[in-house]
Symmetry: C2
Subunit: 196 residues, 2 copies
């Protein structure tokens, strides 16, 4: 059911991305062609090219949707009431859960993200920047509340993200899957001790 | 010049690895064949197979040599006199330097290490364990000297290694090459604040 307030063009674009994400999940993004997406939508490939110049643009947009969901969850955690340390812990645990779930149930979508990280797609960089902003928001709230010592919240955010990389980097989490330690809790304790 | 105390068998094994490392550096490990290594040593491939069951075993052994050099440098840093915080800083900086130099001057050897990490070769796991031991040694010395608060030095070592992963993981350091922050110094300050 389409929202009548949304222009038709936007709806088509969303339809394309919805179908692309489903096919990427089922068939894999490398095996999915623009023709496959067009066929599912009963439109011509030429119509898809009115919205996306190439398949790479569709792949990046699907990636953006997936990473955007992580950011939305992170924003919700950051704006919830409670101590900053709790928010940081919830944030890292939630990201790890997103990734672990995708890896175990949606392996083909996980491969899309692995490729995006391997090939340094701009969406990955954008995602890191967005996550840094959310982390910095939590950390500066903690600084204002006297929970953390005052300092450069933006830098602290980058440090926490780097320190916790193994939990949200799609390739690292696979590489580290057999290492029981550090757990997210141990790593967060380590980060909190540094910020305190 | 060969050391006459070393059995001939061992010398041949070392010769094979020396030539393999040179060819891996010049031609790349994927393009180098056992026949290429044998030709350089004026021996038959069959003779090489007396020492290594497959090329994969040679590749792993070359990897071990490279990672072993990092471990030797780390051990030297760990046993040098001075505060533990200085040793930790030197250690991380030295590892990053090893990796950065290999990446800029020996790109083909760097690719061997990337593959080893990507495919989770046992030598990589072994290297992490060895580095954890050296890190734990430094940290427990710091704990004994009252420089760090007392605690589980083994766990702290794993946490520091994980936090600093972007500086020594061959793929991550390429992925993060365009991110100016965190620097090794910033990350070490973050870790030291956590240990203090």
């Amino acid at each position: 059911m389409k929202n009548s307030c949304v222009p038709k063009e936007n709806n088509t674009q969303l339809d394309i991305l919805g179908v692309a994400e489903r096919l990427f999940r089922e068939v894999g993004f490398q095996k999915t062609t623009v023709a496959d997406i067009a066929r599912e939508l009963r439109m011509s490939p030429a119509n898809i090219y009115r919205f996306f110049t190439a398949k790479a643009e569709i792949s990046a947009a699907v990636c953006r949707r997936i990473l955007g969901k992580i950011e939305a969850a992170a924003e919700q955690i950051a704006s919830a009431p409670g101590p900053a340390s709790k928010a940081l812990r919830n944030l890292i645990a939630s990201i790890e859960e997103f990734n672990a779930r995708r890896f175990s149930s949606d392996r083909k979508l996980h491969e899309l993200l692995e490729t995006a990280y391997n090939e340094n797609w701009p969406v990955v960089h954008e995602h890191s920047e967005n996550m840094d902003k959310i982390l910095a928001q939590i950390i500066s709230q903690g600084m204002a509340a006297g929970e953390f010592r005052t300092g450069d919240a933006e830098l602290a955010a980058i440090l926490v993200r780097s320190a916790c990389m193994r939990f949200w980097h799609p390739r690292l989490m696979v590489e580290c899957a057999l290492d029981p330690e550090p757990t997210t809790d141990q790593m967060i304790d380590f980060c909190l001790a540094s910020l305190a």
